[in-house]
């Protein structure tokens, strides 16, 4: 399609791709972005953008069984994972992912303009310093080639870009205090007010003593930093991340003005504050929640070309040597047709930014960057144990965004030698995740109990507002056999590979489920919460440990398929996120993370992307 030779070719328009496009074009570099999804999602005029977003909302409202990708178009030519396809019995090959098992992988991402930030929740806690040294500290997994302090300046850039609302002083827990952030640091916006339900929870949970294997822990509940608009913090003074040619580095500029709240992409007056619509996942109706299109809109569009409906299919290598020569992509017209035209995108530097799943698939399909045999391996996710019950009083879930409070108590400790750490968000969505409430409450009452009219109303009014959920996002340790592969047997409409997944929960994880449930029991007891948790052997991802059964769920945190490391024989990218094997090929995204920590990974991944952008700019400048 285009003969232009760009400075950088970026594959994917999610948050990593968008950050690169913004930083690189603002630094004067010519960037080509390839996006597999539909053109409408990239609409740059307010009118088209608004209408497209309304169509997303319409689809969400009209669909009976709502999943994380429900609002967004399903495209045969660039399929996304649908979590409703997940089955208990492996192996199976229905849906986009081929699941070899023994357990099904239960998370998804979105292949569309804006990527998974369209449906993400927006929780953005930082990782802890110890998370970067799991091998040294706890003899688990691997150490990162960088440490927490290396990442701090880039965390600040990521928090600036996402527009984090939160209270730094509240971030207190194991391995976490004011010192993680520096003496004067504040987030761009004040914390989102903690929900009424959180206040109910906190009464008996804050300061609670719980015991676990003979150790005592004091539970505390703190506000969750999130990528969601609130009131600008008057003390925040950072403006924008820019390339400083003199120091050959990215710097955060300062300003006397208050932080500029970024509203909806179609109208800056919409979504300037979170309105508590409570449908953050899968879609914020007003775009008060951050999404990557907000960043992409700030790119210098005179230096950015975006090609949509372009599915990257192969990374091409120079016939002589190891440099990447181009990226072959298949351009489709009709999103469900098998017809396409192949093109080659050319640049000086190439960056894959299309999710841990698609990046790994693309590398495997191209047989590049894999001298370590690590591509596709160490697939990780937070394995989520849910516990749910009825509060003794009404907590009124669904008031406010999905999560405003979390328990950091088990994010770090000596126990990580024995079982996985976890973060516990206090969710604001009642039993909707485990039981499809409140819809299922209506169905059960009407069909099973023949209720209607006033009886039905008073039944729902008595129960649904008391429904409450606690959740335990357990840090999955890296394991070489949890992996994505490809096979000639499994191709999609455009003759691209489908991901073939092998996945299991190690004893380290199962032991963590038991510990988490034990902690949950004590917290429930202290709050007089009537436990309604049920783990059924017929569910997907039901596992046993020590004679008890547990069901874990996917967190949507797909991490680790092309990890970074300090040596070429055990990692795919170096600490600059450049592939060891190809000097002009970078990988960005959660796939680079060697271990997961207990944070929702987007913030850390975005910080790493700023590091990658800096390395790319340095490389471009040194070649000039």
């Amino acid at each position: 399609m285009t003969e232009k030779n760009y400075d950088v070719v970026v594959v994917g328009s999610g948050i990593a791709g968008a950050v690169l496009a913004k930083v690189l074009t603002q630094a004067g570099k010519e960037v080509l972005m390839l996006e597999a999804g539909l053109t409408a999602g990239m609409a740059l005029t307010p009118q088209d953008d608004y209408e497209n977003y309304q169509s997303y909302l319409q689809r969400f409202y009209e669909t009976t069984i709502k999943a994380t990708n429900t609002p967004y178009p399903e495209i045969e030519d660039a399929p996304s994972i649908n979590v409703l396809d997940i089955q208990a019995q492996t192996p199976y090959e229905t849906g986009y992912m081929v699941q070899l098992g023994p357990l099904p992988f239960a998370s998804d991402c979105l292949r569309a303009p804006g990527g998974t930030t369209m449906h993400w929740l927006g929780n953005v806690p930082r990782m802890l310093p110890n998370d970067f040294q799991m091998k040294t500290r706890y003899d688990q997994g691997v150490d990162w080639p960088i440490c927490y302090d290396d990442l701090v300046p880039y965390y600040e850039m990521a928090e600036n870009e996402i527009g984090v609302a939160g209270d730094v002083d509240a971030q207190q827990g194991p391995d976490m205090s004011r010192s993680n952030y520096g003496p004067d640091y504040v987030f761009p916006m004040d914390k989102i007010p903690q929900s009424y339900q959180d206040q109910v929870w906190m009464k008996s949970t804050n300061g609670l003593d719980v015991s676990l294997y003979g150790q005592h822990y004091t539970v505390n509940c703190i506000s969750m930093p999130q990528g969601r608009n609130s009131t600008p913090n008057n003390d925040y003074r950072y403006a924008n991340t820019v390339w400083d040619p003199a120091s050959q580095s990215l710097i955060l500029t300062t300003t006397d003005e208050n932080y500029e709240v970024v509203g909806a992409t179609w109208n800056s007056y919409t979504g300037e504050r979170c309105e508590g619509n409570a449908s953050c996942v899968p879609i914020c109706p007003v775009q008060a929640k951050y999404n990557a299109l907000k960043t992409l809109k700030k790119a210098d569009t005179s230096k950015l070309d975006i090609i949509t409906k372009a599915v990257a299919s192969k990374v091409l290598i120079e016939p002589k040597g190891t440099d990447v020569a181009g990226i072959m992509y298949k351009a489709y017209t009709d999103p469900d047709s098998i017809e396409y035209t192949p093109h080659i995108a050319k640049g000086k530097i190439y960056v894959l930014a299309c999710s841990a799943i698609e990046n790994a698939k693309l590398l495997l399909a191209s047989n590049v960057a894999n001298s370590s045999d690590q591509v596709g391996r160490n697939l990780m996710d937070h394995m989520v144990l849910l516990t749910w019950g009825l509060l003794p009083e009404k907590g009124y879930p669904y008031r406010g965004p999905g999560c405003t409070t979390y328990i950091p108590t088990f994010r770090d400790g000596e126990f990580r030698k024995d079982f996985a750490a976890w973060i516990s968000p206090i969710d604001n969505w009642g039993w909707s995740w485990p039981t499809f409430a409140p819809g299922s409450d209506v169905t059960n009452a009407v069909i099973d109990n023949a209720m209607f009219g006033k009886d039905l109303r008073s039944h729902l009014n008595a129960d649904v507002p008391r429904q409450t959920l606690l959740h335990f996002e357990c840090e999955q340790a890296p394991c070489a056999d949890n992996r994505i592969t490809i096979s000639e047997k499994y191709k999609d409409h455009l003759d691209n590979f489908r991901p073939v997944i092998q996945y299991d929960a190690s004893d380290y994880m199962r032991k963590s489920f038991k510990a988490a449930k034990h902690v949950s029991d004590q917290i429930f007891a202290a709050n007089n919460i009537e436990d309604h948790t049920v783990y059924s052997p017929t569910e997907a991802d039901y596992v046993t440990w020590d004679g008890q059964g547990y069901t874990f769920r996917g967190a949507g945190h797909i991490v680790g398929t092309h990890r970074m490391g300090s040596s070429a024989d055990e990692s795919v990218v170096d600490k600059n996120q450049r592939t060891w094997d190809h000097q002009n090929l970078y990988l960005v995204g959660c796939g680079n993370m060697p271990t997961l920590g207990t944070s929702n990974p987007t913030l850390t991944m975005t910080a790493m992307t700023y590091q990658a952008a800096e390395s790319i700019l340095k490389q471009l400048e040194s070649n000039n």
């Binding site: 608004y50 319409q58 208050n258 509203g263 179609w266 109208n267 800056s268 007056y269």
Partner: protein, 358 residues
């Protein structure tokens, strides 16, 4: 687009009034007390545009007329900003905005407060007539039009008189007139989601910037269809009059558009059929007391009054109160739409009446 921004930034904007001439141009504004009274009128004018705009906006059936919806909504949001900016100016010179009294609430159909009574404003569904009225409201002043503190022809001329009076009385008053309690000022932390960045008014310069913001968003700069929003960190935007003209003409302006030519950009669809067929100028008096529609209308009016009470408190020393007004604004929307879905008579539906009630 960059060329336009540069050109506009290059223009000299907040030109200082020549103080010698100010007094003559103040007209009937003869004292600071008069000035406060006129600023109260300014608040009333800004507010009086909102029920008509919101009624037309909410008459649009869900999922239709995206362009008209977005356009009218953006104008209404800017009017809310203007109303609060006018409150800030009044507070800055030691006045006390009154936004929840009986006489603050206009009756429809009627004239805009203190205008030359040239056109009547009513409450009705989105229609070509409604758009014509909106164009009259936002009509730009002809170049060189005199300031008009009373019986104004255009809102611009009215504000021009206020601007002269602010300059004059600040100059001749010992210690200036901007002596109001700064804690009464609302700013961007209190107000959002509507029309631009709210800022505190603490001195003459702030007050002139505020008036320029109000005028340029409304009628446009004198020789341009654009408003001045790039100064406020916003995207290029066109002024209200021209926004309504786009609806009327069914066509967008281009970036080269000028006031003397009709819009020449892409076509936009405006479907006047996809609108609730609302009885014009509804009133609670039309319904038997205690009837379902009477109750529904009364409930709407009570919500409207609660909103005005909340705004009144916010601009009289309790800025936090504005946060509590937000759910009420949503209630206004939901209840207005519910009324417009309720059949009344002759194939028409009921509608929001925006009446004073206690």
């Amino acid at each position: 687009m960059n060329a336009i921004i540069q050109q506009r930034q290059g223009r000299k904007r907040h030109k200082r009034k020549n103080h010698d001439k100010c007094y003559k141009k103040c007209g009937t504004i003869r004292s600071v007390k008069d000035l406060r009274r006129h600023l109260q009128t300014a608040i009333e004018i800004e507010h009086a545009t909102l029920p008509p705009y919101l009624t037309a906006l909410y008459s649009i059936k869900e999922g239709t007329n995206a362009f008209a919806y977005q356009t009218i909504q953006s104008v209404a949001m800017e009017e809310m900003l203007h109303m609060i900016l006018a409150c800030n100016i009044l507070n800055a010179i030691g006045g006390h905005p009154a936004v929840n009294r009986k006489r603050f609430v206009p009756s429809y159909p009627g004239y805009l407060p203190h205008s030359s009574d040239a056109f009547i404003v009513g409450l009705g569904k989105l229609s070509p007539d409604a758009i014509n009225t909106f164009l009259a409201i936002e009509q730009p002043a002809a170049s060189g039009s005199p300031p008009q503190p009373d019986h104004w022809d255009t809102i611009g001329q009215f504000y021009e008189a206020i601007e002269y009076a602010l300059c004059h009385f600040d100059l001749v008053t010992e210690g200036g007139i901007f002596t109001g309690d700064v804690s009464y000022q609302l700013d961007e932390n209190d107000y959002y989601g509507g029309g631009g960045k709210l800022f505190k008014v603490c001195n003459l310069r702030d007050s002139i910037v505020a008036i320029q913001e109000i005028l340029s968003q409304g009628e446009g700069m004198s020789d341009s269809i654009f408003d001045s929003d790039e100064l406020f960190g916003e995207a290029v935007d066109i002024a209200h009059y021209y926004k309504f003209n786009e609806i009327k003409e069914g066509r967008r302006y281009t970036l080269n558009g000028t006031p003397d030519k009709p819009p020449q950009g892409e076509k936009v669809d405006v479907d006047y059929e996809q609108v609730y067929n609302m009885q014009p100028n509804p009133s609670i008096k039309n319904y038997p007391e205690g009837s379902a529609l009477w109750q529904q209308t009364n409930d709407f009016n009570k919500t409207y009054m609660a909103l005005l009470d909340s705004i009144h408190d916010a601009v009289n020393g309790n800025p936090d109160e504005l946060k509590r007004a937000i759910p009420l604004m949503y209630d206004i929307k939901y209840k207005a739409i519910a009324l417009m879905k309720t059949p009344y008579k002759d194939g028409m539906t009921a509608g929001p009446s925006f009446e004073f009630v206690r």
